[in-house]
Amino acid sequence: MKLAIKRIAFLVVVLGIWQLIYSIGIFENIVFPSPSKVANALYTGFADGDFVKALGASFRHLFMGLFLAILFGTTIGVLLGKSRQADETAGMYLIALQSIPSIVWVPLAIMLFGFSEFAVVFVVVLGGTFVMALNVRIAIHSVPPQLIRAARTMGTNGIPLFFRIEVPSSIPYFMTGIRLAWAFSWRALMAGELLSNGPGLGYSLRYAQDYARMDQVIAIIIIIGVIGAVVDQLVFSKLEKNVMRRWGLLKT
C-alpha cells in the first residue's frame, strides 16, 4: 500500500513540474501542451473511437506477428538446439540477425509488400523471431545432462525423451523467450506502423504529428508506454515468475 502511495505521489510531482513549465511559458503552446490538454486528447480519442480502432488494428498485427514469431522462433531454436551441425553453421548468424534493430526491416518490408498491413506484420515477425529462436536454443542447451541420464536409465529415449524431459525442462527459458519476443515485437510493431498507411497506433501517432497535434502525440505515447508496461507486468513477467517458482528456480 505504501508503495502505491509513493508511486502516485511521484506521478503527481511529475505532472506538477510539467504544468509549471507550461505555465511559465518556456515553450510555445503548440509544441508543449498542458497536462489537461493531453488528458482531453486521451479522453476524446477514446470517446470518439479513434484510439480504440487504432488499438484494435495494432493488437491484430501484434498477435498475428507474435504468433508467427513464436512459431518460427521455436522451430529454428529447436533445430539449432538439437543439431550441433545446424548450430555451428547458422548459430552465429542468428546472433547477428537478432542484433539488427527492427526498424531497419521496415524499408525492406515496404519494398516487398507495399504499404500494407502485411508489411507491418512482417516487421513484427522479424522483430520477435530471432530473439525467440535464441532463447529456445538456450533453453534446449540448458537441459541438465544429469536429468537426461536419469531418464535414460528409466528406458526413456529418442522422441519420448524430447517430449518428456527436454520440453518440460526448457519451459522456464521458453517463457523468457516469449516475454522477450513480446517486448521486441511490440517495439517492431510501432516502428512498422509509424511508416505504414494505417490503421494502427503507430500510424495514428504519425498522423497526429502531420497535423501538429502535440497533445495527441503525447497521448498516444502514453498509451504505448502503458500498454507495454501493463502487458509485461501483468501477463508475461507474472507468467514467467510463476513458471520459475514452479520449477524451483526461484527462491520464494
Binding site: L147, A151, R152, T153, M154, G155, N157, I165, P168, G248
Partner: protein, 262 residues
C-alpha cells in the same frame, strides 16, 4: 552368473584423439540379491564402471552381461540412483515416481506401485509436494523409490548418500537395508566411506588406480545390523584402509612428482 562383468575396459579419447585408459581387465561376478559395494580412490573409475552397467557409457572392451544378456544400452531393468537426486522439478513427488511406470503399467497399477514405494521410503505424506520443497535426504529417498518402482533387476547407486549429513545418512542406511531385504534386489553400491561399505554390504570390492583395477574382494558374513564397535568390523576396516591408503599415496606421489617436474 547374474551380473557378469568380463574383461571390461574403458578408454576415453580427448580432443587430440589421444586415448586415456581408465581401467582394463575388470572381472566382477555378482550373484542375485547380493549387496556389493565398490570402494576406491577418486578417479579409479567407479562411476564409469557403474555407468557402463547402466548402459550410459559405451563399452570399450570386454562385456557386461545381465542374466546372460549382453548390455548394450540403458534400460529399465537397471535402476540408477545418482549422487545428486536428479528428480524432475516440473513433476511432483508422486509424478516423479510414476515417470518410469508410464506405458509399462496400467494407470491404476502404476499409481498403486508409486504409493507403495513412496510408503517404503516414508514419504507418503509428501507425495503432492514439488521436489524443491524437500530436503536433500528426502529427495534422495524419492530417487530411490523412483528407481525401485520400475522393478529393476539391479539397483545401481553412485555415492547416493555422499552429500548428506551423518544423521540423515544413518537413517537412510537403515531404510536401505530394510528395502533391500524386502525387495530382494541386487545392489551395486559405490561409496567413498569404508564404514558405509562394511556396514551395508555382503561384499566389498576395492579398486586401485593407474591403471584402474580390482585389488581386493572381501566377503562379509557378519550378521546385520552391524555395529561399528564390533571387533571383526574394526579389523576389516583396518585392512581395507591399509589397502586404500597405499593406493591413495601412490596417486599423491605420482601427482607430486608431476608438479615437481613441471
Amino acid at each position: 552368473m547374474f551380473l557378469a562383468v568380463d574383461n571390461l575396459g574403458k578408454s576415453f579419447s580427448d580432443q587430440d584423439d589421444e586415448s586415456f585408459e581408465v581401467f582394463s581387465e575388470i572381472d566382477l561376478n555378482i550373484e542375485e540379491n547380493q549387496f556389493v559395494s565398490l570402494l576406491g580412490p577418486s578417479g579409479c573409475g567407479k562411476s564409469t564402471l557403474l555407468s557402463m552397467v547402466a548402459g550410459l557409457e559405451s563399452i570399450s572392451k570386454g562385456s557386461i552381461k545381465l542374466e546372460g544378456e549382453e548390455i548394450k544400452k540403458a534400460g529399465p531393468d537397471r535402476g540408477m540412483v545418482f549422487q545428486s537426486p536428479s528428480l524432475f522439478p516440473w513433476l511432483n513427488v508422486k509424478e516423479n515416481v510414476l515417470f518410469p511406470l508410464k506405458g509399462h503399467w496400467s494407470k491404476q497399477e502404476a499409481s498403486e506401485r508409486a504409493d507403495r514405494f513412496l510408503k517404503m521410503v516414508h514419504l507418503s505424506r509428501f507425495k503432492n509436494h514439488y521436489t524443491h520443497e524437500l530436503s536433500g535426504g528426502m529427495q534422495q529417498r524419492v530417487a530411490i523409490a523412483r528407481a525401485l518402482a520400475m522393478d529393476p533387476k539391479v539397483l545401481l547407486m553412485d555415492e547416493p548418500f555422499g552429500a548428506l549429513d551423518e544423521q540423515t545418512r544413518h537413517i537412510l542406511h537403515e531404510e536401505l537395508m530394510k528395502i533391500w531385504q524386502e525387495t530382494q534386489k541386487t545392489i551395486l553400491f559405490v561409496t567413498h566411506s569404508i564404514q558405509e561399505a562394511i556396514k551395508l554390504s555382503d561384499r566389498v570390492v576395492v579398486m586401485g588406480t593407474r591403471p584402474g583395477r580390482i585389488i581386493a574382494d572381501f566377503t562379509i558374513d557378519l550378521p546385520r545390523p552391524r555395529k561399528r564397535e564390533d571387533e571383526e568390523v574394526i579389523a576389516l576396516e583396518r585392512k581395507v584402509m591399509d589397502l586404500l591408503e597405499g593406493e591413495i599415496n601412490k596417486v599423491l606421489k605420482e601427482e607430486l612428482s608431476h608438479e615437481v617436474s613441471y
